[in-house]
């Protein structure tokens, strides 16, 4: 099975089976990447995402104007407010989607990038990649919530205005998705067995 495995490569775009010598997929004609060159691209996107993570959490994400009162809140501050007001499920969802999962994704992606050539924990690494692939875009939830709130509540005496952290958060999520997309999952344990 070891020899036959090296002979065939799955196209990540259309799922077709190609031989290991094919540079382009026979079915969809898109490029089949089967070397480790993706590591640098994936790492570059990941570092960019980490850079955007800090301003996304430090700067305020939205400004609320209520009659003559104006206050701004960060992501963490917003979660505390939700928790204090008793909206525990939403506070947990926002905490998971906006704080914990992005941070976990950085750690997991970094681990996957540096250990892709290693033959240890192959099954675990494949499961971790699936987790990254599925959970990745869900961090956009916060950006979309701000978008919806700001577009609904824009009256004279009560309004919600997005602040610059939304942009940083959006860029962080986009670069994390790009990092995960450029990571070639087929190369996990490709030289093992």
């Amino acid at each position: 099975m070891g020899n036959i495995r090296k002979k065939y490569v799955r196209c990540i775009h259309c799922g077709a089976t190609n031989t290991a010598f094919d540079e382009y997929c026979k079915r969809c004609s898109l490029k089949i990447k089967t070397d480790y060159s993706f590591i640098y691209t994936s790492l570059a996107f990941l570092i960019t995402a980490v850079i955007f993570y800090f301003p996304a959490n430090i700067y305020p994400i939205l400004q609320t104007n209520k009659f003559f009162l104006t206050y701004t809140s960060t992501i963490i501050g917003g979660i505390f407010e939700l928790w204090k007001s008793g909206d525990y499920p939403i506070a947990i969802i926002v905490f998971l989607a906006s704080v914990l999962i992005p941070f976990l994704k950085f750690v997991i992606l970094f681990y996957l990038i540096i250990s892709v050539k290693s033959c240890k924990n192959i099954k675990l690494k494949r499961k971790l990649y699936k987790f990254i692939e599925i959970s990745g875009p869900w961090s956009l939830l916060d950006v979309f919530v701000v978008f919806v709130m700001a577009s609904i509540i824009h009256f004279q005496y009560i309004s919600i205005i997005p602040q610059k952290a939304v942009l940083y958060f959006l860029l962080m999520v986009i670069f994390t998705i790009l990092s995960a997309m450029s990571f070639d999952e087929r190369m996990i344990g490709a030289n093992c067995e």
Binding site: C14, F144, S151, I153
Partner: protein, 201 residues
């Protein structure tokens, strides 16, 4: 030779491919996960579902999702108007991102599904079908309608305490379009159309 081999997307092991009987499922010999299922008339299913899906999509984007009343102020939330509103307010990157990921890409994907399933049904213009399938393959990862829907729900829960909210026709159309696309993209998958395309080649 490679047409008779399928590489497992879960463990990358090669398996011999064979035709299935009704209700049969092919599993990977190594990891035991599902490789493919018996399915019939996929292109017809996709064609008829997407046809209604496109109508629901237009209603969801241009008709009100909700009507809201906050301390006497009344307004409605329409997705396309919301994108235009925030674009005009200067939030260009965010509004463009929503425009592409919630409006343009899902719409293009739906139309490409519609056209490719129709062309596969009538077995016509293979090179154009291939272009459409490549378009779907690339764009499907950048459609975030499901996350946007959850974002609408989260926003509504946040506003429930101080606003009167009435669900409108756009909300129902959104749910219907989302359900159709979930079935086509996640349950059937673009790989099924690629398989039919290969068989017709």
């Amino acid at each position: 030779m490679t047409k008779n081999i399928i590489v497992c997307p879960h463990c990358e092991s090669p398996n011999i491919k064979r035709a299935l009987n009704p209700n049969e499922v092919a599993v990977c010999a190594k990891c035991g996960k599902v490789l493919y299922k018996y399915e019939s008339n996929i292109e017809l299913k996709i064609f008829s579902l997407v046809l209604s899906g496109v109508i629901f999509f237009i209603i969801a984007m241009f008709f009100p999702i909700i009507k809201i009343n906050i301390i006497g102020y009344e307004d409605s939330f329409r997705i396309f108007n919301a994108i235009l509103f925030l674009f005009n307010k200067g939030y260009i990157i965010i509004s463009l991102f929503v425009l592409f990921s919630v409006f343009l890409f899902p719409f293009i994907c739906a139309v490409a599904y519609f056209m490719s399933s129709f062309l596969l049904l009538v077995k016509f213009n293979k090179s154009f079908v291939k272009k459409l399938l490549i378009l779907i393959t690339i764009m499907k990862d950048w459609c975030f309608l499901d996350i946007f829907f959850i974002a609408i729900l989260v926003s509504l829960i946040k506003m429930f305490s101080y606003a009167d909210i009435i669900f409108d026709i756009g909300f129902i159309a959104y749910i219907l379009f989302l359900s159709i696309m979930f079935y086509i993209v996640k349950i059937i998958g673009v790989h099924s159309l690629w398989e039919i395309y290969e068989k017709n080649m």
